[in-house]
C-alpha cells in the first residue's frame, strides 16, 4: 500500500491502492488499511462495502456493464428497458449514448474516450463564459491556459484586498450551480468569518446526476480554470488546502487534473495552495455535500444532519467551502470582467450563464452554455437541435432527473431557479432528458426510480424502503409485475413521506418524476393501468 501520509483525505487513495493489490479486499488488507487510517477496521469495512466499484462485501469486482440511466434506456438508444441490477449508474455520457463500462473505462460513442469532442458552440449571439475558451487547442496545459489569460485573477488577488473580490462576487449574483442555488458569496463569507487556522476548499466534481455532463468538458479540457478558482477561494476564505472529489466514472479527468496540479505547483502559480484530487468509487449520494465529506473522511457516505453546515464544520470538522465545478469555474471570469457584466448575462432576474446538459431524444445532445433563464425550448429546440426526424417531443426531465418531469406544453418555461418552483420542481443541475412519442413516460419514470433505489444509501427509512416500493409499483404499471388496486393512493402516501421526511435530497427529490407523471401524463398512466402502453414500449404479462 502506498504512503499517503501527506494526503488531506487518505481513505479513498488507500482504498484504490488496496483494490489493486493481489487478493484485493481481504481481511488482512482491510486491517492494514484501518491501521494506516487509525480507525477501527469495522468502520473501514462499512465504508468500503458501500461503493459500486469496490469489491468489499460483494461477490466480485464490477468490471463491465451497460448504462442503466434514463437517456441510455430510451427506445432506439441503448439497452432499452432497464432491468434491476442490469445497468451501471449513469456515467455522464448521455450525449454519447449508449454508454458502457469495461476495463476500467467508461465509453460512449465518441472515438476517443480520453478526450471527447469539445462542446458544440452554443446558439449564435449567445455569449459564453465557462465554455468561452474550451475549444482552444492546448488549453489544458499551463501555457495554453495562461495564453487565454489564465492565473491573472489569482495573481491580482494576492496583491489586492480579498474583501473586494468577495464584494464583486456578491454583486455578481452568482448562485451555486450544483443544484441548491445558494449564493456563493454568502457561503464564502461564512467560511471567511468562521475563526480557525485550518480551513478547506472542497470541489464537488462528483457529477453523478443522470442526464448531467456539463462539468466533464471543464474537467477534461480546462483543468487549470478549476485549479485557479479553488486557489482564489482559498485566498478569500483563508484556506491553504483543497480537495477535488472526482467521481469514479471520470478516470481520464483524474490524470488530467493531477497533471495540471503538478504543472501549476512546479511553476509556483498557486501561492502555496495545496490542492489534491480524491477519486470516488461509484456512489451517487456522494454528490450530496455532507455524504461527500464523510466519504473523504473514510466514513460511510451517509448524509450528515445540518446544521452544522460545512461552512462551520466541514472536512475533518473544519470550516469548509464546498462548491460544484461549474460554480468555481465562473469565479475567475467574474473577477476579470466584473459583477455588472456577469449579472447582465442572465435573463430577467437571473444572473450569469448556466451550463445545461441536453440528452435523450434530440438531434444534437450535448452540454451547452446559455443565459441563466433561457427557456427549455431554447435549449431543446435551439441548442439541442429539436426532435429527431419525424418525432414529436412529449416532455423532458429537469435537474438531470431529480428536478421533476414536465410535458411539451411547458417548453417555454425558463430554466432558472424560480420558474420550476411553481410546479414544486427545481432547476437542479440543469440537465434535461428529452423524450418523444416513441418513448413511454411510465417506463422512463420507472428507470429513474430504479436508479434512486440502487443509489439510496440505506441510512433513512423513507428513502431506503420508499424507493423500492415505488419502483415495484412502476414495475406493475409497465407490465413487469401484477398491478395493485391502491396504486394512486400508495404513490401519494409514499411520495409524500419521502419528500417530507427523507434525510437528504436524494429521497426528498426521488418522488418528483413521479409527481410529474401523475400530474402531466395521467392519461398515459391510466392507460397502463388498463394494460395498454400507448407508445408500445411496455409488454404486459
Amino acid at each position: 500500500m502506498g504512503n499517503r501520509s501527506g494526503s488531506h483525505a487518505p481513505f479513498l487513495p488507500l482504498l484504490h491502492d488496496a483494490m489493486e493489490q493481489p487478493g484485493m479486499m481481504s481481511e488482512d488488507t482491510l486491517n492494514e488499511l484501518a491501521a494506516a487510517l487509525r480507525i477501527a477496521p469495522a468502520y473501514v469495512h462499512q465504508a468500503a462495502s458501500f461503493y459500486h466499484y469496490s469489491n468489499l462485501g460483494k461477490d466480485h469486482l464490477l468490471r463491465e456493464g451497460t448504462c442503466g440511466g434514463p437517456a441510455c434506456c430510451l427506445p432506439g438508444v441503448g439497452v432499452g428497458r432497464g432491468t434491476p441490477g442490469e445497468g451501471i449508474a449513469c456515467p455522464g455520457l448521455c450525449d454519447q449514448a449508449p454508454a458502457s463500462f469495461a476495463d476500467g473505462l467508461f465509453r460512449g460513442t465518441a472515438a476517443d474516450p480520453f478526450l471527447p469532442p469539445p462542446p458544440a458552440a452554443s446558439v449564435d449571439g449567445v455569449e459564453e463564459v465557462l465554455f468561452r475558451d474550451i475549444r482552444t487547442p492546448g488549453l489544458r496545459s499551463l501555457d495554453g491556459y495562461r495564453a487565454a489569460g489564465g492565473y491573472a485573477q489569482l495573481r491580482r488577488l494576492v496583491e489586492t484586498d480579498a474583501a473586494d473580490a468577495l464584494e464583486t462576487l456578491r454583486a455578481s449574483g452568482l448562485l451555486g450551480r450544483g443544484g441548491a442555488g445558494f449564493p456563493l458569496a454568502a457561503k464564502w463569507q461564512a467560511v471567511r468569518d468562521t475563526p480557525g487556522e485550518r480551513k478547506y476548499v472542497v470541489c464537488n466534481a462528483d457529477e453523478g446526476e443522470p442526464g448531467t455532463f456539463k462539468d466533464r468538458p471543464l474537467l477534461h479540457r480546462n483543468p487549470h480554470l478549476l485549479i485557479e478558482a479553488m486557489a482564489i477561494a482559498g485566498h478569500i476564505v483563508g484556506a491553504s488546502a483543497g480537495v477535488i472529489y472526482l467521481r469514479y466514472e471520470y478516470p481520464e479527468a483524474y490524470g488530467v487534473l493531477n497533471e495540471a496540479i503538478a504543472e501549476a505547483e512546479a511553476a509556483d502559480v498557486l501561492g502555496g495552495f495545496d490542492l489534491q484530487v480524491a477519486r470516488g468509487l461509484g456512489s451517487y449520494v456522494c454528490g450530496e455535500e455532507t455524504s461527500l465529506l464523510n466519504s473523504l473522511e473514510g466514513l460511510v457516505p451517509w448524509p450528515r444532519e445540518r446544521p452544522p453546515f460545512p461552512t462551520q464544520k466541514g472536512l475533518w470538522g473544519l470550516p469548509t467551502v464546498i462548491n460544484n465545478v461549474e460554480t468555481f469555474c465562473a469565479v475567475p471570469f467574474i473577477l476579470e470582467r466584473g459583477a455588472d457584466w456577469y449579472r447582465s448575462l442572465g435573463r430577467g432576474e437571473s444572473a450569469g450563464t448556466k451550463l445545461y446538459s441536453v440528452s435523450g431524444r434530440v438531434s444534437r445532445p450535448g452540454p451547452y452554455e446559455l443565459p441563466l433563464g433561457a427557456t427549455a425550448r431554447e435549449l431543446i429546440e435551439g441548442a439541442g437541435g429539436g426532435a429527431l426526424p419525424g418525432r414529436t417531443i412529449k416532455g423532458y426531465t429537469l435537474g438531470g432527473i431529480s428536478g421533476g418531469l414536465l410535458a411539451a406544453e411547458h417548453l417555454d418555461m425558463p430554466l432558472d431557479y424560480a420558474a420550476p418552483r411553481q410546479h414544486g420542481f427545481a432547476l437542479g443541475s440543469g440537465g434535461v432528458v428529452v423524450f418523444d412519442d416513441a418513448c413511454c413516460v411510465v417506463d422512463l419514470v420507472r428507470t429513474c426510480m430504479l436508479f434512486y433505489e440502487a443509489e439510496s444509501c440505506g441510512k433513512c427509512f423513507p428513502c431506503r424502503v420508499g424507493t423500492v416500493r415505488l419502483r415495484e409499483r412502476l414495475d406493475a404499471l409497465t407490465g413487469r409485475a401484477e398491478p395493485s388496486g391502491k396504486l394512486m393512493d400508495e404513490f401519494d402516501e409514499i411520495g409524500s413521506a419521502m419528500s417530507a421526511n427523507s434525510a437528504c435530497g436524494l429521497g426528498q427529490a426521488a418522488p418528483l418524476v413521479l409527481h410529474g407523471l401523475v400530474r402531466f401524463f395521467n392519461e398515459e398512466l391510466q392507460a397502463h393501468r388498463q394494460g395498454v402502453c400507448p407508445a408500445g414500449v411496455c409488454h404486459f404479462l
Binding site: 481481511e27 468502520y43 469495512h45 444532519e305 444509501c457 427509512f461 409514499i494 413521506a497 421526511n501
Partner: protein, 352 residues
C-alpha cells in the same frame, strides 16, 4: 446557559444543547422513535421523530437537533402523523411477520407497539422483503435479520458504546445487512457477547438465545438485583418464570450501568439454577465438607486467626480482597488487615 422555546404551544426552558426530542418528551409530547437510544449519537435514520420547526422548509429530526432559543416546535399534526404512519407501513412491509417472537417473549417490541398505536399492524404495503438470517451457532445471540429494520442501534451500541467493533452495516440501500466483517458467525468476530445489541433492538431481530422459547412475556416477573460478578455493581433484572430463573435483562435505571452489561452479567447468571451451587457455609468435619451455620463457620475462622496470630504474629497473614467486592467492601478488608489483624499484607486480586 438556559434557553426558552415553545413546544406544542407550551413555553419551555431547557439547558442549551438539549435535543428537541428530549425536551419535547419532558413536556409530555409523545414523539415516536425507532432508531433512538439516548446512550449513543443519534443517527436520525427512522425519521419518525421529525417535527415541524417554524421557519424551516422541511420537518427536522428532533433527535439530532438541539432546541434553539425562540424555536417554535410542533411535534404532531395531520401531516406529521400521516407521514409517520406511512413510514411504519414501509418498514413493516420490509419485515412482515405473523408472530413477532420479541412481542411474545419480551413483551410488545417498539416496532409493533408503534404499529398498533398507528393502526397499521396489518395494513401495510406489499413488496420485497429484506434481511437474511446468518448461519450462526453462537450460544448467546439469536440473529434473525428478516426482522431487522436497519435502525443501526445495535451497530452504534457495539461500536460507540461498547467499542467492541464486532458488527457493522454492510452494503448500501435496501441491500444493507448487519454483518460481522468477514465472519458469518459472531464466534469468529470481535464480539465479546455483551449482549447489548439484543437489549437495544426494537424488534425481534436480536434475541437472547438462552431465554428463547423459555416463557411468554406475561409469565415473566422481573426482580431487580445487582450483578454479583464484579465490583462495578451493574443493575440487572432477574427474569423469573414459573418459579425459575430464565435470564437477565438490564436495569435501565441502575446508576452504575445505565443498561450496560458485559457477557458475565448478561449471560453468566444461570449458575443460579446449578445443583452444585453452595447455599450455606460448609465446614470440614472428619474430612468431609458439611453444611454449617454462618455463626459456626465464622466462629471457626476467628478461633484459627487468633491462634495463628498468637503463635506467629500478624506478619503471618496476607489478605487478598476480591474484585467482585465493591470499593466499600475492599476498604473494610484493608481495615480488617491493618486495624484488626495488624498487617500491611493486603492486596487485591485485580492486581495479581
Amino acid at each position: 446557559m438556559s434557553i426558552t422555546a415553545t413546544i406544542d404551544g407550551k413555553s419551555i426552558e431547557v439547558q442549551e444543547g438539549e435535543s428537541i426530542l428530549e425536551a419535547a418528551r419532558r413536556c409530555g409530547a409523545e414523539v415516536p422513535t425507532l432508531c433512538y437510544d439516548s446512550r449513543v449519537d443519534p443517527s436520525a435514520s427512522c425519521r419518525m421523530c421529525v417535527v415541524k420547526v417554524e421557519g424551516r422548509r422541511l420537518p427536522v429530526a428532533s433527535c439530532a437537533h438541539a432546541l434553539q432559543e425562540g424555536m417554535n416546535v410542533v411535534t404532531a399534526d395531520d401531516d406529521l402523523e400521516e407521514n409517520r404512519r406511512t413510514i411504519l407501513k414501509l418498514v413493516l412491509s420490509e419485515n412482515p411477520t405473523e408472530e413477532c417472537r420479541s412481542c411474545i417473549e419480551r413483551g410488545p417490541c417498539e416496532l409493533h407497539s408503534l404499529a398498533g398505536d398507528y393502526g397499521v399492524a396489518t395494513d401495510y404495503y406489499d413488496g420485497a422483503i429484506s434481511g437474511r438470517i446468518p448461519e450462526d451457532s453462537n450460544p448467546f445471540i439469536a440473529r434473525d435479520y428478516s426482522q431487522c429494520i436497519l435502525c443501526y442501534r445495535c451497530t452504534r451500541v457495539c461500536n460507540e458504546l461498547e467499542q467492541a467493533h464486532a458488527i457493522i452495516p454492510e452494503g448500501r440501500g435496501f441491500e444493507t445487512n448487519i454483518v460481522a466483517p468477514f465472519h458469518e458467525s459472531l464466534l469468529g468476530s470481535n464480539c465479546t457477547f455483551c449482549g447489548q445489541c439484543i437489549q437495544t433492538c426494537p424488534t425481534g431481530a436480536l434475541m437472547d438465545r438462552k431465554m428463547l422459547g423459555k416463557a411468554k412475556a406475561e409469565d415473566v416477573t422481573k426482580v431487580r438485583s445487582i450483578c454479583p460478578f464484579c465490583g462495578t455493581g451493574c443493575g440487572i433484572e432477574l427474569n423469573v418464570a414459573h418459579g425459575e430463573f430464565i435470564g437477565v435483562t438490564p436495569d435501565w435505571n441502575a446508576p452504575a450501568s445505565a443498561g450496560s452489561l458485559c457477557v458475565k452479567g448478561q449471560f453468566g447468571i444461570d449458575f443460579i439454577n446449578s445443583p452444585e451451587r453452595l447455599k450455606t457455609p460448609l465446614v470440614r468435619r472428619d474430612g468431609v465438607l458439611q453444611p454449617a451455620s454462618w455463626d459456626e463457620a465464622l466462629g471457626i475462622i476467628v478461633d484459627k486467626f487468633q491462634t495463628v496470630k498468637a503463635e506467629s504474629g500478624p506478619g503471618a497473614f496476607a489478605l487478598w480482597s476480591s474484585a467482585r467486592a465493591p470499593s466499600e467492601g475492599n476498604f473494610l478488608m484493608q481495615k480488617l488487615a491493618r486495624a484488626v489483624i495488624g498487617t500491611n499484607n493486603i492486596d487485591n486480586c485485580s492486581r495479581t
